[in-house]
Structure formats: C-alpha cells, structure tokens
C-alpha cells in the first residue's frame, strides 16, 4: 500500500532560464544545460589582453576551427562538474583496487622479462606523454570559445594528469615501493630513440598556439598509441603470462573510449557547421598535412620497440590501425597524406 504525501503545489513562473527557453523552447532543462550553455561571456568585453592585444578575452579566433553557434557542441556524456568527479571517483577506485591486487600479489614484480621491459622502459615513460597531453588539453580550457567545449577540454586535462599520476603509481608498485623506475623511465623519455618521436610531437604541439589543432594532432596520436599499447598488447599480455599488464591496461582503454565520445562529437559538429564546415575541414587537413606522417612514424618507432621486448606484432598492428584511422578520416572527406 502507498501512503499519500500531501505537498503544496505552487505553479512556477517559468521552467528554466531564459537563454535555454530561447534555444530549446519552453521545457524544463537538465543540470548539464543550465550549468554549461551560454555561461561564457560573449560581448562587451572591457579590455584587450596584454598578452594578445589583437584578441578579445574570449575570442573565436584563438583557433582556426570555428562554429557558427559554439553551443552546437554539447558533450554527449552530459558531463558537468558533479557527475564528472563522481564518475572519476568511481574509476579511480576501480584502478586503485586493481593496483592493490597487483601489488599485494607482487604481480608486477614477477612479470616475464620482456613484459617487465615493456612496463619499465616503454609504458612508464608515457606518464610524461600524459603530462604533456594535460597541457595541451588545458589550453582548450582557456582558449575554447564557449563553455561546452571549454568544459570538455578541462575534464580531459584533469583526466590526463590523472592518467600520468596513475602511470606513476604503476611505476612505484612495479618498483616495490621505490621511485627509481620512474627516474629511469624519465631518462628513457628524454633519450631513448624509440620515444623521441612522441616527445618531439608533444613539445612541438605545445608551441602551436591553436588549442584545437593541438588537440586534434594529439588525438590522432592517441588513437594509434592507445590502440597498440592498451588494446593490442592487452590481448597479447593475457596470452603471454602478463595478466597484471592486462589489468592495468584495461583502465586506460576504458578511459580512452570515454574520451573519444566527446572528440568525435566535436569533429562531427565542426564538419556539419552551416557556415564553417569547409573552414574546419581545411584546418583539419592542415593538421593532417603537417602531422600525420610524423605521428605514424612516432608510433611505429614506439611499436618497433615494443616488438623488440616481446614480439606481439605491434608494428603490424600500428600499420593496420593507421590504415583504419586514415580510412575513417577519408570518409569524413579529409585528405590523409601518403594515401593511407
């Protein structure tokens, strides 16, 4: 039996804020919409930035990628702050559980030699890649035009510094509580030829001064790198007696699926823009023109190093991944150099 609660009913004057009524009609709005749409100031700026006197404080021309309406991009994950930290608290807890398990059984310290080399010499140095990815992402948090893009970039930045910290924790467990594996990994990041393509890419992106071009180049590299390191190697690790690697890798591949959702949507919206679709394709082609070969080469070098520790066919996998990514880009009407 249900009891009947009596509450006062007062007719509201309105269902939500006026900007949302103008956009979506007179309907209740979600918290994502109320907290994300039309938040950034768009007019009547008072002063020009001392460090960019030709621009407004918020200015669509900080990037070559443009949108007629910046809020044509909405995050398909509908993430505003509260659900963002809640979802990351949950995934952080899951990662900690996996890592504690691996730690308590000493699984990372007992990896077969080749797999230990992959973790120590090739996986751990990527904490610096993630740290660089954070810097690229946070640039979008400052320079994106519109709150929905800014917000997605902000969370991506926080995710990536979180990824860097997670990899560092893997390094500490790998080292049974010490940090010298991290120090060695940093030397690899600085000097190992297999990693220099990736490091050069990150450093060069950090001086582009166009957050969206940086983001897209980074994402192209992510697509190849995550596919080989966390997806391809995951399967090989299970076969090769390196279950601990698989346990860790799955957290990163799961994160990357989430990351893809908003970036794919952003690209979709760019290319569907009524006014700027061609501008945006040209900007994307410019990124491909300048970066695609560099990215494929960097991830191929890295994959060859993976194969030199444990031959899982990483180079072949990267080659196939690059062809698949190139095919998808081609379907979007983009021109991928080298005909890949």
């Amino acid at each position: 039996m249900q009891f009947e609660l009596r509450t006062q009913v007062i007719e509201p004057r309105r269902k939500t804020f006026s900007n949302l009524v103008r956009r979506y009609g007179d309907r209740p709005a979600s918290r994502y919409e109320e907290g994300s749409v039309d938040i950034q100031a768009t007019e009547n700026f008072h002063y020009r930035p001392l460090w960019a006197p030709d621009k407004e404080l918020y200015d669509p021309t900080y990037t070559a990628f443009r949108l007629t309406d910046p809020y044509s991009f909405l995050d398909p994950r509908q993430l505003y702050y509260a659900p963002y930290v809640q979802s990351r608290a949950a995934s952080g807890e899951a990662f900690s559980k996996s890592l504690d398990y691996v730690d308590s059984r000493g699984l990372l310290t007992k990896l077969p030699d080749g797999w230990a080399a992959i973790v120590g010499e090739l996986l751990l140095p990527l904490r610096h890649y993630e740290a660089g990815a954070e810097l690229i992402s946070i640039e979008g948090s400052r320079f994106a035009y519109g709150t929905t893009i800014d917000q997605a970039c902000t969370y991506a930045a926080f995710d990536r510094i979180g990824n860097a910290q997670s990899l560092s924790r893997v390094g500490i467990v790998f080292n049974d509580g010490h940090a010298h594996a991290l120090a060695e990994a940093k030397e690899k990041w600085l000097d190992d030829p297999a990693l220099q393509g990736l490091r050069r890419l990150i450093e060069e992106l950090l001086i582009e001064r166009d957050y969206a071009k940086e983001l897209i180049a980074l994402d192209l590299c992510d697509q190849l790198l995550y596919a080989v390191l966390y997806t391809h190697l995951d399967e090989a690790a299970l076969m090769g007696g390196a279950g601990a690697y698989s346990l860790i890798a799955q957290h990163f591949s799961t994160w990357f699926l989430d990351q893809r959702r908003w970036i794919d949507q952003l690209v979709k919206v760019w290319f569907a823009d009524p006014e700027f679709a061609e501008t945006n394709k040209a900007a994307f082609n410019d990124v491909l023109d300048r970066r695609w070969s560099q990215i494929v080469e960097a991830v191929t070098d890295y994959s060859a190093a993976l194969d030199s520790r444990v031959d899982t066919g990483a180079v072949a996998a990267t080659s196939a991944n690059a062809a698949a990514v190139a095919a998808r880009l081609g379907e979007l009407g983009l021109t991928v150099p080298g005909g890949k």
Binding site: Q8, F17, S18, D38, H46, Y81, V85, Q86, D176
Partner: protein
C-alpha cells in the same frame, strides 16, 4: 618450511610520493625552447629563479581530489533536490530576501567562471609544475562553484523575477559591468598579476567580506540551498586562500626586484576589489530581512582585524606595506552601504532586482548599527523618498548616472570626512577627460591609462546607441528585463506572490 622474507618498508615518504606523482612529471624540453612553451611569464617583469621552490601545502592528487569532491557534491545536490521537492522557498524570512540572491546570481557565477578560465591559463602557462597543478585544481573548483551556484539558485528562478537571464544580464546591465570589468581586468593582465589580483587580493584579502554576507545571510534568512553551497565551497576556498598566499610569498622570495611590482598590484587590486564589494555592503545592510552583522562590523573584523592587524604584520617581513588608499576605505565604513543602497534604490527601475525603503524594523537596526551616520542619511534621503511614497509615487532617478571610469559604479561616493560632498576626480589622457569616484580609482587609471580608456561603460554605451535604443524601455528590453524584474518591491510580482503563497488559500495537491 620457507619463511617469506619480510617485504621491505615502503621507501617513499608521502612527500616523495607526492613529488613523484606530480612535479617529477615535468621535463626540460629540447626540441623547442622552454620560453616558447611558456611565453607569458616574463613580460610583467617578475623574476623567477627556481620554480621548484613553489610549495604545495595540500599535496592533493587527482585520485584524492575526485573522491573528496564527489562526496561533497553528492551531499549538496541531495539538499538541493529536497529543497525543491518541499517548496523550500516558502520558508524564507521574506520574499524580498531574494533580491540579495538575484545580485548573487547575476554577479557571482560569471566571476567564478572567469576565474575558472583564467586559472586554466595559469595551469597551462606557468613554468613550474607545482604552480600549474595548484592552478588546475583551482580552475576545476571555480567551474564547480559557477555550476553549483547556478544549480542552487535554479529552483528560485522558477518562482521569482530577476534571475532568468542572468548570463545575458551579466554582459549587459549597468551595475553588472562592475564585476565584469573587474574580472576582465584581471584576466587581460599577465599570469602573475592574475595571481595577485584574484588568487591573493580577492580570494584571501577580501574573500570573507564577499562570502560571509551572502552565505551567513542565507543561513539567517532560511535559504538552505545557498547556505549549504557556502559550506560546501568552504574547503575549496581554504585551498584557494592558501594558493594565493603561497603565490605572493613565492614571488617575493624569488627576487627582491619583485617587491615593488607586487606591492603596486596589491595596491591596485585591494582598491579594485574593495569597490566591487561595495555592492555587497549595500546588500548586507539593506536587503537582508534578517541581518548577520553590519558592513562596518564585517569590515572591522574581516579586514581591519584579520588582514591589517594579522596578515600584513606577517607580510612586513617581505617589505610589503598595507594597501595604498586603505585609510580611505576605513574612513568610509560608516557611510559606504548607505551610499550604495541609495544608488540602487533610485536606479532599480533599470535593474534586475527590486528595492524598497527600509521599514521600521530595518530603520531601528540601521540606527543601532550606524548611530552617527544613519540619522543623517535618513533625513537627507529616506524621509524625502518616504514623502514621495506617501503621496502615491515612487522616486526613481529619471537621468542616467555618470560612472567612474575604473570601478564603473555611479559617482555617488563622497569626500573623506564630508559625507555630503560628492567626490569627483578626473585625469586627462590624450586630450580626453576621464572621471573617477575616488583617489584610488584615479590612481589605478593613471598607472595604465591605455588599458582603462578601453572600458565598456554602460552609460556611455547607451548614449552611443549600442544598447537597444535611445529610451529606457528600449534598453530594458536589450537588458532582458521582463515584467516583475525591476522597480519597487512593495506591490511587485514577487511581493504579491509571496503574500499569495502565505495566505491560507494555498492549494493542496
């Protein structure tokens, strides 16, 4: 039987572990020059020799951050949901209390949001990883505050006027150019000045003066969501205060040449922030049906006692002096709120809040809080306004006020020591005359006239035809004002609704 060898103790201390997880992620670039990656940290003249000297007092990791913040938000949103479900607005002290929250929603979330964007700038462009990570966390927090404030007030928006177009209004309405120009000013400065402007001056020097009136005001007036938001933001704010203090100390310890630069920023941003929160002074003394304390008491406690007699004693060690023009602020403490509210009262026909003459109970409180100045203001201003009401009218100023070029508040402040003589200063720059409300604002202009001549002054813009048209109704439409948003509280839609809700005829369903 084999005895398992005991696992060696963890070799990393918490501090080393934290360093490994955060600072150690940085590397010295070799494919490009470091100054190309971080191009904005030299033009302001601040010298930094060793970024690793930046201390992170909180040693927060991403994992810990997400965990704490998720828990805090779970609790906050549970309160918001419960309040909405139970029509909690009925338990406010009075409907007119909502005017304080209208000003809050119109002025504060957009400022929090600006803080988010510009702390992201620091999180990208500071050379040191410790300073960057602290800025990143603050950027996240500020986004949180903008959103939780909007969500906190979202329920009220459904039942009261003045809140529905807060984002458009914060870009357009005359009194909201006060907070907007403040944050625009800081955001267009360099990263170190931002840190002093917002991280230190705003988040440390003035934060209690800004937040206590709103949050305690909420607690005293039955506004459970805003009070809960206040508590929920508190632990973030204490991190922000620590960042601000760390920032100023870091700059001062890095090079003694930084002292005069930092001192000048402190002088500027104290005055800029102090003028901004003059709006809060008017709100707390006149718009809260139940008062927490007077502006004068708050200023004495949170500024004179805690800052001048506390913080600045510590900063003396570095050669920092109390802000220039601080005496002017002290001298104004008994008249500031009266002057500000009088401006708001006479121009509220063009505002997104309502005002009213202080009632008998309010007047008794004002008399006890300001025994020297209230009687003067009452006879000069409010008795006349009352006579207009008694004869069936309502006094609104038919003209447009002159605005101070810097703080953008209508020129209504007075000469120190003479509360009946309006203060007016001016400077000539490139043949044009610019007017100011005070020595403090004039001093700020004279340091950087090329910046402040750019100001988007709402009254100038109306005269130039950039605000929807030449008449007040045109401008009101352009502002996004709807019936029920502006004017006198008594008899307003909010007032009528409030009376209706509390009459015995509330429907049950």
């Amino acid at each position: 039987m084999t005895v398992p060898t005991q696992k060696p103790a963890r070799k990393l201390t918490m501090q080393q572990r934290y360093a490994a997880l955060t600072h150690d992620l940085d590397w010295d670039p070799t494919y490009v020059a470091e100054e190309e990656i971080y191009p904005f940290t030299t033009f302001e003249g601040i010298k930094v020799h060793d970024w690793s000297k930046w201390e992170d007092p909180f040693r927060l990791t991403v994992e810990a951050y997400n965990k704490y913040q998720a828990e805090k938000d779970r609790r906050l949103y549970a309160v918001l949901d419960g309040f909405a479900q139970s029509q909690g607005q009925l338990s406010l002290t009075e409907g007119r209390y909502m005017n304080a929250m209208k000003i809050f929603l119109q002025g504060i979330p957009s400022g929090e949001y600006q803080a988010h964007r510009n702390f992201s700038h620091l999180a990208r462009y500071f050379n040191g990883p410790g300073a960057r990570f602290a800025s990143l966390c603050q950027s996240m927090d500020e986004l949180r505050h903008a959103q939780t404030e909007i969500h906190t007030l979202s329920h009220y928006n459904k039942y009261f006027g003045g809140m529905h177009d807060w984002n458009k209004m914060s870009d357009r309405v005359w009194y909201l150019s006060v907070p907007k120009s403040f944050f625009d000013d800081a955001g267009t400065a360099g990263p170190f000045e931002w840190l002093i402007a917002i991280g230190f001056s705003f988040e440390y020097l003035l934060t209690n003066l800004l937040f206590v009136p709103f949050m305690s005001g909420a607690a005293f007036n039955g506004d459970l969501p805003t009070m809960t938001f206040g508590f929920s933001a508190q632990s973030d704010e204490s991190r922000h205060m620590t960042l601000g203090l760390e920032g100023i100390k870091f700059m001062l310890e890095q090079d003694e040449d930084n002292l005069p630069i930092v001192q000048a920023w402190l002088d500027k941003w104290f005055w800029r922030g102090y003028r901004l929160i003059a709006l809060v002074a008017g709100m707390m003394d006149y718009m809260l049906p139940k008062r927490v304390m007077s502006w004068k008491e708050a200023f004495e406690l949170y500024f004179e006692e805690q800052m001048l007699n506390g913080l600045f004693k510590d900063l003396e060690y570095y050669g920092i002096k109390p802000p220039r023009h601080v005496q002017w602020a002290i001298d104004e403490k008994e008249i500031l709120s009266h002057q500000v509210y009088w401006v708001l009262y006479q121009f509220s026909h063009a505002a997104a809040f309502t005002t009213t003459i202080p009632n008998e109970e309010d007047q008794a409180w004002l008399e006890s809080a300001y025994p020297e100045t209230w009687p003067v203001f009452k006879s000069v201003v409010w008795d006349k306004a009352q006579r207009v009401v008694d004869s069936g009218g309502r006094y609104f100023n038919p003209g447009l006020p002159q605005l101070c070029q810097i703080c953008q508040i209508p020129m209504g402040f007075t000469e120190p020591g003479n509360p009946l003589v309006q203060c007016q200063r001016h400077s000539i720059y490139e043949g044009e005359r610019y007017d100011f409300c005070s020595d403090g604002c004039q001093w700020i202009f004279d340091r950087e006239p090329e910046k402040y001549v750019q100001a988007w002054l709402p009254v100038h813009q109306i005269y130039q035809g950039n605000c929807g048209g030449p008449t007040l109704p045109d401008v009101a439409v352009w502002y996004g004002l709807e019936p029920g948003d502006a004017g006198e509280y008594i008899g307003s839609m909010d007032h009528q609704d409030w009376l209706k809700w509390h009459a015995s005829s509330i429907k049950e369903g």
